[in-house]
């Protein structure tokens, strides 16, 4: 039995996949790949396909020692039994999540105040009501975005889930094993991998945003030191004479709002490390459960394979 090789010249025309579906399949990019563990015997259709490949991308490799190949696949499975090892960098709260978007608009008033101080006071009051009161909401927004994009793969079962992705890799190895041993000698569901952690309380709270959500606002809040009145210096005023020749004043609060946005953003950055550490704790709780189940699952598979690896 020989190895089949497809080189980088493959243009994805798909001819080999159509004509020899037992040997070839399309990968995610649309190019052909050899089905894991499939080897070439003396097959006329396969030979025709190799000669008809329009870019001559398919060839035979060397003879394969099935026993050795099987052992290599077993070693891969054993390595998978270590499960997922989530590191801090896997759940990094990167700069992309530290961006605090603009606060609700607090612009300038009309020239309606009789003194500069009353205009400033009105500006500060508006600033407090419209912008400063939104700090928690803004913090929550960035944390939620982080949770949904970075943490969700650890509490979901869709195609982006880390469990689904590892299950797929394991299934590929099992497919290779099954092709080396012979599909008919193994149970029909041998290559199916459907291992997921328990949807426990932490999982459900993550889904609802109760953790890595509301509970993290206080972490960022700790890093935010300013009171609303600290922004008074950024509230400006302007004056003009009205039709009676009286001075009238307005406030301008844009600069204060922008300063506030920057300060909240800095607080988020300062809190990064605490956010990551706490998140890692939650994630590891779920991942450990997956790893336990995966180990049991792989032990069963390895005991089936052991009968064929003598």
């Amino acid at each position: 039995m020989k190895q089949i090789i497809i080189n980088e010249k493959c243009n994805g025309c798909g001819m080999c996949v159509v004509k020899c579906p037992n040997y070839f399949e399309s990968n995610d990019d649309g190019n052909a790949q050899v089905i894991k563990g499939v080897l070439a015997g003396n097959d006329a259709v396969l030979n025709t396909v190799i000669s008809e490949c329009p870019v001559k991308a398919i060839s035979f490799g060397g003879e394969v020692n099935i026993k050795q190949s099987l052992q290599e696949e077993v070693n891969k499975l054993k390595a998978f039994a270590n499960g997922l090892n989530v590191k801090r960098e896997d759940i990094a709260f990167t700069d992309a999540y530290c961006t605090v978007t603009t606060f609700p608009y607090v612009g300038s008033s009309s020239y309606e105040y009789s003194s500069s101080s009353s205009a400033e006071r009105a500006g500060l009051s508006k600033f407090r009501d419209r912008a400063y009161s939104q700090i928690d909401s803004k913090i929550l927004d960035v944390i939620t975005s982080y949770r949904v994009n970075i943490i969700k793969p650890y509490y979901s079962t869709d195609e982006k889930s880390v469990y689904t992705q590892l299950n797929k890799k394991i299934s590929d190895v099992l497919t290779a094993v099954s092709n080396l041993i012979g599909k008919n000698k193994l149970p029909s569901d041998f290559c199916n991998v459907d291992v997921y952690p328990e949807r426990d309380t932490v999982w459900k709270m993550l889904e609802k945003g109760e953790i890595i959500g509301e509970n993290f606002v206080s972490i960022v809040r700790r890093e935010f030191k300013y009171s609303a009145s600290d922004y008074q210096t950024y509230i400006d005023w302007d004056d003009m004479e009205d039709y009676r020749g009286k001075d009238k004043y307005c406030y301008r609060a844009q600069e204060a709002v922008e300063e506030l946005r920057k300060d909240v953003q800095s607080a988020v950055r300062w809190a990064r490390s605490d956010i990551e550490e706490n998140s890692l704790g939650y994630v590891n709780g779920i991942v450990n459960d997956y790893n336990r189940k995966l180990k049991t699952f792989l032990d069963k598979k390895l005991s089936i394979i052991a009968k064929f690896v003598v």
């Binding site: 025309c13 649309g30 407090r128 509301e214």
Partner: protein, 264 residues
């Protein structure tokens, strides 16, 4: 794009009076933000998947145009030297009323026009498909009474967009599969034709009816192939082209018939 627009609406909600949000308000916001972030993520994921499938369609087309068609043209030039009587009847499945010269000409034109990646840009799709959805979304947002109901509007809009992407994905897969199967048939036919010509040379009298049938089948497949290559996933406005469905169906039926005929 739609999601971004819709989110502008959610910013318009009045601010809480207290400096620190109470727990209940925060919990509600949390749900709303989760919905919004999930909506964005859903659209992003579907957009990428659709983009990938469309790239595969383009890849298959490119493969046919760059590798298979030049082989056919080479063979076709040899066929031209044989004075085949085209009106000779074979048990061929006739694909439309093909005209040999036009078919080859149209394929030569396709070869000269490199496929641009423009057709892969799904951003363009959005302008066409979702124009009406944006207006609808804005209307619903202005009627939403809380940030959470606004977030739900955004999410349901995202689901509608995701459905459009799913339709694009389905269409792309179908076209890509059709091109792939037609190409397999085409390559086999070209190879058979080459063998027959190298065996018989250019003297038409050396050809049996069966040999002529092989040559004609090859030309026939080329005509069908050139039509399939031209099936768009989307039209210039970014809408799923209705006429393309008919073209796909015609192609699929033809492919079935050819396969049946070859397997007889």
């Amino acid at each position: 794009m739609l999601i971004e627009l819709a989110l502008v609406g959610t910013l318009a909600y009045s601010a809480d009076k207290s400096n620190k949000m109470d727990e209940q308000a925060l919990a509600k916001r949390s749900k709303a933000y989760t919905r919004e972030a999930e909506a964005r993520e859903l659209v992003y994921r579907k957009r990428n998947a659709a983009d990938k499938k469309m790239q595969i369609v383009a890849k298959r087309k490119r493969a046919v145009i760059e590798s298979t068609l030049p082989k056919f043209i080479e063979v076709y030039q040899k066929i031209q030297k044989i004075d085949l009587n085209i009106s000779d009847k074979n048990d061929l499945v006739v694909y439309n009323n093909f005209n040999l010269c036009n078919t080859v000409k149209s394929m030569e034109t396709v070869i000269k026009q490199p496929l641009t990646d423009k057709q892969l840009i799904t951003e363009v799709i959005f302008k066409g498909i979702t124009g009406y959805m944006i207006a609808d979304s804005k209307r619903n947002l202005s009627a939403a009474k809380s940030q959470l109901s606004a977030a739900n509007v955004v999410y349901s809009q995202a689901q509608s967009v995701a459905e459009v992407y799913d339709a694009i994905i389905g269409r792309s897969e179908r076209i890509s599969n059709l091109i792939m199967r037609m190409n397999a048939l085409f390559l086999g036919s070209i190879s058979e034709t080459e063998k027959v010509i190298s065996k018989n040379g250019t003297d038409v009298r050396a050809y049996t009816e069966h040999d002529k049938g092989i040559l004609m089948t090859c030309v026939n497949i080329a005509a069908a192939m050139s039509d399939i290559i031209n099936i768009p996933v989307l039209d210039e406005n970014g809408e799923l082209c209705r006429s393309a469905v008919e073209m796909i169906q015609t192609g699929e039926i033809y492919l079935e018939q050819m396969n049946e005929m070859i397997n007889q």
